[in-house]
């Protein structure tokens, strides 16, 4: 019985040795992010406007109903999102919006440090999403 006991403890002790720790000292140290990580959304800009054509597929597919789109016609007669807002407090980062987008106008970045002080700061409007 003692033998088994020592064997178990040795595994534990091995993990205590330097270089075997799985935690990192965040924020000084950061983990490498997987290429398909789903962080903060980004609206992709095109030449003189956003790529988004306000087709309403992302708010339709969104299971958390956190996306607000309002479409309008611009001077060129094109459809564009006058309003594009994501409520991050509601978002569940499922990435369905990215999948649904027919023009690849929305993608998810690797940004995950999304804490903020006010509720209002979690509403990402079009200008913010284009910059993120």
């Amino acid at each position: 019985m003692f033998k088994e006991f020592a064997k178990g403890l040795s595994i534990t002790l091995k993990h205590l040795l330097p270089g075997h720790s799985t935690t990192v000292e965040y924020p000084k140290q950061r983990l490498e992010i997987a290429p398909r990580f789903r962080g903060l959304h980004r609206l992709v800009p095109a030449q003189d406007r956003e790529k988004c054509v306000a087709c309403y597929l992302c708010p339709t597919v969104c299971p958390a109903k956190c996306i607000t789109v309002e479409s309008e016609e611009n001077e060129k007669g094109e459809k564009y999102p006058r309003v594009y807002e994501i409520d991050l407090l509601r978002c569940i980062f499922c990435g369905y919006c990215v999948e649904a987008c027919p023009v690849e106008a929305i993608e998810m970045t690797s940004a995950y440090e999304l804490a903020n002080f006010k509720r209002g700061d979690f509403m990402y409007d079009k200008a913010r999403l284009l910059k993120s």
């Binding site: 087709c55 309403y56 309008e72």
Partner: protein
């Protein structure tokens, strides 16, 4: 009946069915693109191909192939699916796939079929079209790059509307749908093409990029404009009516609408709607609370008692009219009338004297099966466009003969088979009398149990077609032909429309028309009918509920007279704008100034500016209740949106008023309808909740006359003046409320005075020039519009616009002598 087998199912169907119709009746699905229930079979898209055992070797288009006895049909097989998929691939070679920005996305037939048949790649390659989109007109947007050439727009415009805006042009790959000379659209803007398009090639421009189809809540209600009673399906989102949706399953109109119904909805969301009650304090209208306003009104009403005059609009629901009647009886006043009292009531009163009934005797769908139709007054299409489309269908499908008794040409005159019996303005009765005379003289009359035939025959001695023709400038032969057609037809219809702009001798016209209906046997015969059509959505309801002066009560015009003389201290206007729409503006203004005026309306109308208290009311999209249309069809309205601000429906306002008068009121429209069925004879037995999508026609499909009395009526002498003005309706507008709607205003934005070509040359006027009309010392000015539908010496002006001040010279005459001059 024919027996056949579809997908192993034994089916018995009518001999006239196609395979597609037989399958649909029995719940078997066959995909289609170019098929539409109300259009003739066409067979353009080849999506509906099926296999028929007896015609092996090729696939058969099911929408154009009639059923035959013993047919064995297969609707799906690997081969059929392969062919359908190929057809879709062919369509998608040219079709631009811009679904994300196409407003049709989500309810597009091509999109749905592409999804269903999993067309993910295309084996064929070709050029996408890059045709310019039609951005010229404000209502209908055409993008022919998306067109699949199903031809539905071409067919609906021709077969149903009878306008013929579109046609296929070019050949082969270059084929496209275009207007004459490929210019921008300049048509009635009824939007039938919009409703028929299976893809996004023709779309409603006011709805452009507003919302996606799946975001809209569909609410079936009844259009609030004319007496046709079309079902409109509101597309509601964010408490706004975003668009009118296409719906061919509900209502008497089979999805057909006119420019007002389809594009005239924007006034309900207008920012200038009244949102709070207003009370005049210190000479100005100031916002007040409901309670304050209602207390003020109740006090005034009580003080006035039997000297209160109530003039109601005919766009209130039956339930609201019932409560209004309760208010008048609670106060003991008999001075109760509605806008129809000016004109439509005359019609029904005339009918009452001859036949003992006060409504149309048939229903609209019956007209489609008629062989001969007589329209009295050329404005009929302009006031009731969708009924006009029914007449057009009777001509196309049934080869009906249409005659129009008209003082000017209109849309009806342009229809095939149409015979226009032109006459000098104001002489309709002479023409009808001449028709009666021919029928009696030629022994064509159905004289069974008719009273007063001898008197009528004697009185009509002066109305031989020749005499009348000479007197009113008509064609005697044409009169005779029409009379013979009407008398000889198996099914025939006589249609008369009346509205505020022509109030003169309405009762006489109704009597003359019912004489004709009785002589030809049209009245009360199954399949035939005499149709009296009121101008407003609930004109018939107001007559049924007797919103008419009680014993010793004053009618609308008399009330205004009386008020102008200071004998009627309080006036209550509900949904009426007499300053703009009633004859004799001077008198109206004087009446409104002199009395304590309460106005209940959607907007601060010209009449409301004279008010002492203004109450904000609700539009037809904001309330529940019922309308009764011109064919006696009771249909339900359903609230789609909430009223802006503190505005309340007339029902709620009347309820509170009744409470202030210490009376009880029904709690909801459904309860009010229950009480109503007990009071209005024809409505008995109708249950509010059971009024179905097609409505409920009171009195049955054919309303039998209670008596058959012929009454002679005298015709009129034509007016001897070089220039004569006719007042009437424009196609794009109805009443004055449509002038607050963006759709109608974008195609008919301002008042105009219409001249015939000859007069335009004489007066040296071109379209767009300013022109002045002088009558009885008053002048009105407007832009001129030159057209070829008016005979020489006849001038026309629509009455809808406040800016024109037409009722300054129009005081109820049938025709006005004017002196035109160019400015």
């Amino acid at each position: 009946m024919v027996n056949l087998t579809i997908d192993g199912k034994q089916i018995t169907t009518a001999k006239t069915s196609t395979i597609y119709e037989a399958a649909k009746e029995n719940g078997i699905y066959i995909p289609v693109l170019c098929y539409a229930k109300k259009l003739l079979p066409y067979g353009a898209c080849r999506i509906c191909l099926v296999e028929v055992e007896q015609m092996k070797g090729r696939l058969i288009p099911s929408c154009t192939t009639p059923v035959t006895e013993g047919m064995v049909v297969t609707t799906t097989s690997d081969e059929i699916n392969k062919v359908r998929k190929t057809v879709l691939e062919f369509l998608l070679v040219n079709h631009v796939v811009d679904c994300p920005v196409c407003d049709k996305g989500g309810e597009c037939d091509l999109q749905d079929l592409t999804y269903e048949y999993e067309v993910v790649t295309n084996r064929f390659q070709g050029e996408k079209f890059d045709l310019p989109t039609d951005e010229v007109n404000p209502l209908i947007e055409r993008n022919m790059n998306r067109c699949v050439l199903c031809g539905k727009c071409v067919r609906v415009c021709d077969e149903v509307v009878g306008y013929g805006s579109y046609s296929f042009i070019n050949r082969g790959f270059e084929t496209k749908i275009a207007t004459a000379f490929d210019r921008g659209l300049n048509c009635e803007f009824c939007g039938q093409c919009v409703s028929m398009c299976p893809v996004g090639a023709i779309l409603p421009r006011p709805f452009k990029f507003k919302a996606r189809p799946w975001q809209l809540k569909d609410v079936d209600t009844v259009c609030g404009y004319c007496g046709n009673g079309c079902t409109v399906t509101l597309g509601v989102k964010d408490n706004q009516v975003q668009t009118i949706r296409f719906n061919e399953d509900t209502g008497v109109n089979h999805g057909n609408l006119c420019v007002r119904g389809r594009f005239g909805y924007s006034y309900v969301n207008d920012a200038t709607r009244l949102t709070k009650p207003l009370i005049r304090k210190g000479g100005e209208l100031r916002e007040a609370s409901w309670d304050e306003a209602l207390v003020t009104i109740a006090e005034k009403f009580k003080a006035a008692g039997k000297d209160l005059g109530i003039i109601s609009g005919a766009r209130l629901t039956n339930e609201e009219l019932l409560l209004l009647k309760r208010i008048s009886s609670a106060l003991g006043t008999h001075h109760l009338d509605h806008s129809g009292g000016e004109c439509y009531q005359g019609l029904t009163a005339g009918l009452n004297e001859t036949m003992g009934i006060s409504a149309s005797t048939g229903t609209f769908p019956q007209v489609e099966k008629c062989n001969a139709i007589l329209a009295i007054r050329s404005d009929f299409y302009e006031t009731h466009p969708v009924f006009g489309m029914v007449i057009n269908q009777a001509i196309r499908l049934n080869d009906a003969q249409l005659s129009v008794i008209a003082d000017k040409r209109g849309k009806l005159s342009k229809l095939p088979n149409a015979r226009t019996l032109m006459h000098k303005p104001g002489c309709e009765i002479n023409m009808i009398n001449a028709l009666c005379q021919v029928i009696i003289a030629e022994g064509l009359a159905k004289t069974d149990d008719l009273q007063g035939l001898a008197e009528l025959t004697k009185a009509l001695a002066d109305y031989t077609p020749e005499t009348v023709a000479k007197m009113v400038g008509a064609d005697a032969e044409a009169i005779k032909k029409t009379a013979r057609e009407l008398a000889g037809a198996k099914n025939a219809a006589i249609v008369v429309a009346y509205g505020l702009p022509y109030t003169a001798h309405s009762k006489e016209i109704a009597i003359a028309a019912s004489n004709l209906a009785l002589l030809t046997g049209i009245a009360g015969r199954e399949g035939s009918g005499l149709y009296l059509c009121g101008e407003k959505a609930n004109s018939q309801g107001a007559i049924d509920l007797q919103i008419t002066p009680g014993p010793a009560g004053l009618g609308a015009q008399q009330m205004l007279n009386s008020a102008a003389e200071g004998r009627l201290p309080v006036l209550y206007l509900v949904g009426e704008d007499p300053v703009v729409t009633y004859p004799d503006q001077g008198l109206v203004k004087k009446a409104l100034e002199k009395s304590f005026l309460v106005v209940q309306d959607l907007f601060l109308t010209d009449s409301a500016k004279y008010a002492d208290v203004v109450l904000p009311a609700a539009s037809f999209t904001e309330k529940d209740g019922t309308f009764t249309n011109a064919e006696r069809r009771i249909q339900r309205l359903r609230a789609g949106i909430k009223s802006p601000g503190e505005a309340k429906s007339d029902f709620v306002v009347f309820q509170s008023l009744l409470n202030k008068l210490q009376k009880t009121a029904p709690a909801a429209p459904a309860a009010a309808f229950g009480e109503l069925t007990g009071e209005v004879a024809g409505y008995a037995g109708i249950v509010y909740e059971q009024i179905g999508p097609q409505g409920e026609v009171w009195g049955g499909e054919t309303l039998a006359p209670l008596k058959k009395v012929l009454i002679p009526v005298a015709g009129n002498e034509p007016l001897q003046a070089e220039y004569q003005l006719l007042v009437g309706s424009a196609l794009y507008h109805s009443g004055s409320v449509s002038t607050r709607s963006k759709g109608p205003m974008s195609v008919c934005p301002e008042p105009y005075i219409e001249l015939g070509r000859d007069d335009a040359v004489t007066l040296n006027v071109k379209t767009g020039d300013m022109i002045q009309l002088k009558a009885a010392g008053v002048t009105i000015q407007s832009k001129a519009k030159v057209d070829n539908r008016l005979p020489k010496g006849v001038i026309f002006a629509p009455y809808h616009f406040a800016g024109l001040g037409l009722n300054r010279i129009y005081t109820g005459q049938s025709v006005i002598a004017v002196e035109p001059s160019k400015l």
